[in-house]
Symmetry: none
Subunit: 229 residues, 2 copies
Amino acid sequence: MDELVFPASSSSCPSPASFSNAGHHQEVSRSPGNDHLSGEPAAPALKRRGRKPGSRNNIDGPALCHVEAERQRRDKLNRLFCEFRAAVPTVSRMDKASVLADATTYIAQLRQRVEQLEADAKKKAAAAALTTVAPSHSFSSSSSLGEKLEVRMVGTEAAALRLTTTAAARHAPARLMLALRSLDLTVSHACVCLFGGMTVQDAVVEVPAALRDDRALRAALLHRLQRTS
Amino acid sequence: MDELVFPASSSSCPSPASFSNAGHHQEVSRSPGNDHLSGEPAAPALKRRGRKPGSRNNIDGPALCHVEAERQRRDKLNRLFCEFRAAVPTVSRMDKASVLADATTYIAQLRQRVEQLEADAKKKAAAAALTTVAPSHSFSSSSSLGEKLEVRMVGTEAAALRLTTTAAARHAPARLMLALRSLDLTVSHACVCLFGGMTVQDAVVEVPAALRDDRALRAALLHRLQRTS
DNA sequence: ACTGACACGTGATCC
DNA sequence: TGGATCACGTGTCAG
């Protein structure tokens, strides 16, 4: 395939990664600057890549600076390509086309990642501002992702709770206990169990007189839970 | 400069941005697929960019598929280049070299931006977690007033705990769960029970490598419990 | 023998 | 005029 060999003519590519160019394909060594032409008959064992340099013997003067300019342009382009490739981490093959394609997708996913992160940052900032401003109730029975809370009064002074969360949310027990404490609900029984990817928490609590209602208690708990998501 | 004219031979570049190609430089239209060769004498008014297609009249057979393959390769490369350029918003000139250079710097600054945003996100999360821990309100009793903590390693990565407190110390569950969270001990099972005047808490937790020792874990836990007594 | 990938020289075009 | 860029055909190497 001849891949992973970029020319970077004479001056080796400053790219730290691969492009070994080790062993075969020698150094070409065009002697940068002024020797351009004269057919460079030296070192006949070396194999160049492209067309034979002296295809048709030429003694033309004006037409020759053109080939040199074109050479420099090619080298510049390849140097840029080299540096560019070094900037793309997700590059599978050294092939020019592959580098280009990989870079395209890489840029796309980078941009979308930045978008999402920025959106998240905004959300966080807004949420933080709201929690400091809004002191109390905002019903909001809908909780965060994949989180269920069931509340059932047992008798008049106690309630049974069941909170089911995904395991992705770590330290769910601390979160629930904090919420219970903030509402001054004394725990008379509690049980935590990790099953599958879920965390199931059962509890029986003593309820103060002001909260002795299924829905009121549930709303208050959800509100507290939401603040410490 | 002749910039902002990419070939995208025949099939116009699907890139939505610029590349107007408006006016000059026509469509070239190589009739994609099979007409390759025969010198295509039609449409003499059209100006191609490169060398004349029929420089030397050729009737060679095997050498010709090569030129066609090269053509397709060139077209593919230019198409990729075109799509790639569309993915880079900060592209000043349409020049190939400029696109490459701009893309390199663009990728670099995108990556550093992502890094910073992610770091910020982590900081925010940590800060949020701390602010929830900090306001240690609630009135609780003195530290160790008839309080017992037993720790026993179960295997190498888990530990079984038992904390026994007097019922006078309210919200013992929140206190224990906070301590566990502050040490990053994931709770795989926990149980709380009020019996007589005592609160008994049993738990099984996953222990990080740094704390996999009975006494070390117990000391660390006691320290945390004492701070939030 | 065949295919894919490069570099080179060259004609052409634009400013 | 002359520098810069491009597309093309070709020679060559590697798998």
